[in-house]
Amino acid sequence: MGFPDRIERTVEIAHPPRKVWTALTTAEGLAAWFGHEATIDLRPGGLARMRWTSGDSADMRVERVEEPTVFGFTWHIYGLPEDDPRRTYVEFTLEPVGAGTRLTVVESGFAQLSGEAHHKAFDGNTQGWASELGELVDYLDAA
């Protein structure tokens, strides 16, 4: 399969889960490594927003908060139109390893299509096409 629906990374961090959790789930933490400015309402359904000095911004909706082991949010798929309803789901999992943390991030949903988008992408553009092509050929032949 060539289309990546899911991205997964695991890193070992030499700091305890509680410290990693703070970096992932507080405005101060997120602004220090992810965005340049951040706000977060840390509860399921809460909103978070990051801004970059480039002018870009990202709005996230908090989905899972299980301190200090699971933090999940959804956000807009970068590159799609602003009003596109599709979102990817990002989940961080923190697991204590000795004095440090094994942090796994999974982002999934890149290959999803909403029902409407599926219809738009795959519906029969062929309807009427055969006759239009015929007209085009006639036109070119006559030219």
């Binding site: 700091h15 507080t26 799609l80 979102r87 890149f110 999803q112 992408a121 239009e132 070119l140």
Partner: protein, 129 residues
């Protein structure tokens, strides 16, 4: 996790990939890129309009428009005979953009920044609230 996302993704994967593949195939050809760019910047156009604007024969344009229509990247607007206009369809582009978004998602860079941040953050209260 929200169940809808992964549940919705699985059954449509082959189609999504096929659509993305058609977009990238279409974009691999400079003439087709020129046609798509002309439709994107100037709006719907007839094969004749495109032949006037691009250094390509009408015959070649017709051939490429047929391929683009098959891939769903352009659609022929119903219209007066001999004035069939072709219009860009954005839906397949958006599918291809999802593929590009996955490739451009730089978690390696973000996680590296997270590690750097934690390594240089001064030891302080374990909780900020």
């Amino acid at each position: 996790m929200p169940p809808d996302i992964e549940a919705a993704a699985a059954p449509v994967l082959p189609d999504v990939e096929a659509v993305a593949a058609q977009v990238f195939t279409a974009l691999a050809d400079p003439t087709r890129r020129a046609i798509l760019a002309a439709l994107a910047s100037g709006g719907p156009a007839t094969a004749t309009d495109l032949a006037d604007r691009l250094p390509i024969t009408r015959q070649a344009i017709a051939k490429h428009l047929a391929l683009l229509a098959e891939a769903g990247l352009v659609t022929a607007e119903p219209g007066e005979r001999r004035r069939v206009r072709y219009r860009l369809r954005s839906a397949p582009m958006q599918v291809a953009q999802q593929f590009l978004a996955a490739l451009a998602r730089d978690w390696d860079g973000a996680l590296g920044a997270l590690k750097d941040h934690l390594d240089r953050a001064p030891p302080g209260p374990p909780r900020s609230h």
